[in-house]
């Protein structure tokens, strides 16, 4: 009943979204105030309906209603209440519901805070929000209905992946989505402005705080995800350049650019068409991330259960949203004339430079993330683009920007004085040089310490630069201290926001540099009473308590005490848990932090006699990374409290007189300055997007056809089979060696008794021998007695079987997952490789014809 009620509410929400998407828009176009005024009530109604649907879903999860498929798939009665609640968005369907809920929440916010916005602008923006909402609710209803019933209802559910049974799940996705979806505000207002053809300071003043809200949420969301992975994944990594992580970084980079360009748009009435473009790009990247994570076109550690059908729908949505808005942009943007002039060296110039670098960075991340698909699509083989690539390209890109971040704020608007700014940074420069030298002296001269020195030096440079700027603003040391305090008190909050934001980045930089350069590790089997010494700490292993019963797991807890110079520092208790539903292991890390560095202890596998594999890391400066992110977010929040930014501030500033006849499609401002002419610069993004979208459609089509993106073509094809000489499985029989492959077409089949697909493959193997192909088996990393028993039980189709106990021959062949089969010609050259089980179709359709040709 509750499920049906929720579904009904969601369907109603779809209808309301349809109304919200059309009526106010038509009203705005025709200047009909009554039609336009439908925007706020419909946004409100839509929010209520989606909230009801979401509430129903949460109710189903909390009460463990296993007649609902979604609950069955991600819940279990023994799960603690917190994870029953957060489990709502721990799966694809529920997380889409959260996405939609947050979207309509923003819509509600417009209807509440935007009461005094120009009615046409608000009507259009809310209509765009309505369209996005319509698309996503339709998506949920058609492809990802969370209210589907299952009959008969199982007694209990499948449970939730232990990795997700963590408080991080309660905060990370909601904040991430608050960020992703928050950029829809800037987007909707950008589209509304394009339709109106008017981008004025009131527009920018409205968009800025919302961009700031979204940016804060996204920063917090990404940082929390990074922290979560730092303390759960067990190897102390906080960023791995995984496609899904990149999917969240791209909107962040673009959003940060948007944040800065909207300052210029508001204060100087220039860079307007660029700001609009960034608003479109930022939200599109959020959508692209949603697509990449759920469609199955990319492989990632963190992806959802993938479904190409869902992928197609999101891609379609992306096509409509991004394609549509870029078309509108190509048509309308040339008419948006930028106002204020500025010199290259000026505050505007600095912000523009920031935008150039950040958009290049976002583009680079996109390029690196999609490049493997791109190369694959062109049939150029398979490449991997991993952390080493991103580190190499991103570091040189970001460092100059950070260096200039200290200078930019010191420049005046319009025309800055570079020598003067630099002279003010004398002190910062000295501190930086001192840091670099001190680092090199302390750590010795090596590439590693040089990189660390540069990182720390730049961090110090940015801190000193930001403080110099602040000191200049409050006239520190110039008059009396009282005067400075007075000025500091009255400094606009947005100025503090900037200072904090930049300081936060400096802290992150210092944290990254330090942790990369000076991380130490200890990895050893420890027995009770053993002591490890790591970075000046003595960590003593007292022993492991077994069979500690948790709410839905049983754990082994290691007891460690850390001392330093004989003084007790911390008790550390990492655990190794086995969850009941689903049956999965999880190891929890024990971390002692003194806010400068972390002592990080992981309990590994048991090693007999009460011993355990123990992994201890000393991670210097890692806490600074997360602290820095918090400072950045704090900066955003402080900035938001600026009177100037306070949401609803526009009502006092902008002209609320009813406009002479509702602004029609072509607004006066735009038309007065320039005839709408086409400009290649505004068409290029559209063209790029069309290429990208076409390419993603193609990729999706391949995935749907069943081309597993993970299948790696062998490089061994058309190369001589590697040399090997393996003993026979059965005593008294000849072994298998590469010399045996000469003279006759042979199929070499790697198998193992522990391999489940091999069992599936085994019955079809006789087909090979029947076709007159010599079939040779290699028992891969299997105990000989197990392999023997397997063949005794299932029959032995092989002419000869060799034992590859340690997988050496397998490595030489390039085996990466059994079963694998290699077809080898008369001259011992590999001609074909099958990864995964052979099927009658493959044998009859490919292998036999090929073998016949090779035999000739």
């Amino acid at each position: 009943m509750i499920a049906e009620f929720g579904l009904f509410a969601l369907i109603l929400a779809l209808l309301v979204a349809a109304v919200q998407a059309t009526i106010p828009l038509i009203g705005a176009a025709r200047g009909d105030a009554v039609w336009m005024s439908l925007d706020r009530p419909s946004a409100f109604t839509q929010f209520c309906l989606v909230a009801i649907a979401f509430g129903c879903l949460m109710w189903l999860h909390v009460t463990s209603d296993f007649s609902v498929l979604n609950v069955v798939q991600s819940s279990h009665t023994d799960k603690p209440l917190l994870y029953k609640i957060t489990g709502v968005w721990a799966n694809h369907e529920g997380s889409m519901m959260l996405w939609t809920l947050i979207l309509v929440l923003y819509g509600l916010a417009v209807s509440i805070f935007g009461r005094d916005l120009p009615p046409a602008l608000r009507a259009r923006a809310l209509a765009i929000q309505g369209m996005i909402g319509f698309g996503f609710i339709l998506f949920i209803l058609l492809t990802s209905n969370p209210f589907l019933r299952v009959d008969p209802a199982p007694v209990n559910g499948d449970g939730l992946n232990p990795l997700l049974q963590d408080p991080g799940l309660a905060f990370h996705p909601p904040f991430l989505y608050l960020g992703y979806v928050g950029f829809s505000m800037a987007f909707s207002f950008a589209i509304a402005a394009l339709i109106e053809g008017r981008v004025d300071a009131a527009w920018a003043r409205w968009v800025r705080p919302w961009t700031l809200v979204a940016w804060c949420a996204l920063t917090l969301g990404v940082a929390m995800g990074s922290w979560w992975s730092y303390y759960t994944l067990g190897w102390g990594g906080y960023w791995a350049w995984d496609p899904v992580e990149n999917a969240s970084l791209m909107p962040w980079l673009a959003g940060t650019a948007l944040l800065h360009s909207s300052i210029v748009a508001e204060k100087r009435d220039t860079l307007k068409s660029w700001t609009i473009f960034l608003a479109i790009v930022t939200f599109s990247l959020s959508l692209l991330g949603t697509f990449l994570v759920r469609s199955g076109v990319l492989t990632s550690v963190h992806s959802f259960a993938n479904d190409p059908k869902r992928g197609l729908f999101i891609l379609l949505l992306l096509g409509v949203v991004t394609g549509g808005s870029l078309i509108l942009y190509a048509i309308r943007a040339p008419a948006l004339k930028g106002g204020g002039l500025f010199a290259m060296v000026s505050r505007e110039g600095g912000l523009l430079f920031n935008n150039i670098v950040l958009s290049t960075a976002a583009g680079t991340v996109l390029l690196g993330t999609l490049y493997p698909l791109f190369v694959d699509a062109l049939g150029l083989g398979k490449v991997s683009v991993g952390p080493p690539y991103f580190n190499i390209v991103m570091v040189p890109l970001m460092l100059p920007m950070i260096a200039l971040m200290a200078i930019g704020p010191l420049l005046a608007w319009k025309r800055g004085d570079l020598p003067h700014a630099l002279s003010r940074l004398k002190f910062a420069g000295a501190a930086t040089a001192l840091t670099v030298i001190a680092t090199l002296l302390a750590a010795g001269i090596s590439t590693r310490s040089l990189l660390a020195g540069i990182g720390l030096g730049l961090g110090v440079w940015l801190i000193m630069g930001s403080l110099t700027e602040w000191a200049g603003r409050v006239h520190l040391f110039r008059h009396s201290l009282a005067d400075s305090l007075h000025r500091a008190w009255h400094l606009p909050r947005s100025a503090y926001g900037m200072t904090l934001g930049h300081l936060g980045l400096a802290f992150i930089l210092i944290g990254v540099a330090g942790s990369q350069a000076w991380r130490t590790e200890y990895l050893e089997v420890m027995h009770p009473g053993d002591t490890a010494s790591v970075a000046g700490y003595q960590v003593k292993f007292l022993g492991a308590e077994e069979n500690i019963v948790g709410p839905n797991y049983i754990s082994t807890r290691g007891n460690f005490i850390a001392t330093r110079n004989g003084r007790l520092i911390a008790d550390l208790q990492p655990e190794r848990r086995m969850y009941a539903n689903p049956q999965q292991p999880l190891s929890t890390v024990a971390i002692y932090t003194n806010l400068i560095s972390d002592l990080y202890v992981v309990l590994g596998d048991p090693a007999g006699h009460g011993g355990s594999v123990v992994h201890i890391f000393h991670n210097p400066l890692v806490p600074w990374i997360f602290f820095g992110a918090l400072v950045m977010v704090l900066g955003g929040i402080v900035s938001l409290t600026d009177r100037h930014h306070r949401i609803g501030a526009p009502r006092r500033r902008i002209d609320v007189r009813p406009r002479p006849a509702a602004p029609t499609v072509a607004a006066p401002v735009a038309v007065a300055t320039a005839k709408p002419r086409y400009n290649w610069m505004t068409i290029v993004p559209l063209a790029c997007f069309i290429v990208l979208a076409g390419f993603l459609v193609w990729r999706l089509y391949l995935v749907e056809l069943g081309f597993a993106p993970n299948l790696i073509p062998s490089v061994m094809i058309n190369r001589p089979a590697p040399a090997f000489n393996l003993p026979a499985l059965a005593e008294g029989q000849p072994g298998v060696s590469s010399a045996d492959l000469q003279g006759k077409v042979t199929l070499v089949n790697f198998f193992a008794s522990w391999c489940i697909p091999c069992r599936e493959e085994h019955p079809v193997l006789p087909l090979i021998a029947q076709a007159g192909i010599r079939l040779v088996g290699i028992s891969y990393k299997d105990r000989p007695q197990d392999a023997k028993a397997w063949l005794d039980q299932l029959g032995n189709p092989y002419k000869a079987v060799g034992v590859d106990l340690y997988g050496h021959a397998g490595l030489d062949f390039g085996v990466y997952g059994v079963p694998e089969s290699y077809l080898i010609d008369k001259h011992g050259v590999i001609r074909f490789k099958q990864t995964g089980p052979l099927t009658p179709e493959i044998i009859r359709g490919t292998i036999i014809p090929m073998a016949e040709k090779l035999a000739r």
């Binding site: 991080g168 899904v244 963190h302 991993g386 490089v715």
Partner: protein
Amino acid sequence: MVLANVALVAALWSGAAWAIRPDEILANPKLEHRARAIGTELRCLVCQNESIDDSNADLAHDLRVLVRQRLVAGDTDEQVKQYVVARYGNYVLLKPPFMAETYLLWFGPVLLLFCAAGVAAIYIRRTSQTAQTAPLTEDESRRLSALLDEPGRKKEDS
């Protein structure tokens, strides 16, 4: 980073801790250090985007052992990587090699930077041009000449 979502389809490596086991570690710290550096650059083939150092998969373990065996046998870092590439292809390199197929990947960021800078330069030039060349409207020129002709103003200026 564990992102949003993660109905982790992973079965092989869930609950992973840092994968290297104590028995794999080489006694010679210099070689071990090199092995780690190589390990982070080689991709575990059966996993989703993990290096062999991060992966708990069996194959990753085999490759880590192989890397160490080759190092002990006296191979250079490059030779070790080539040894693995010869069997598994360029796919195993997390840092793709510089070749025709990856020119765009390696030059892409520079290209993007130039494009972005170019667009910015054009933007600045256009705004300044339009601002300079915008002719005065009739009304404006009338007001301007009126101002210029104003006798009192001239004195002030001089």
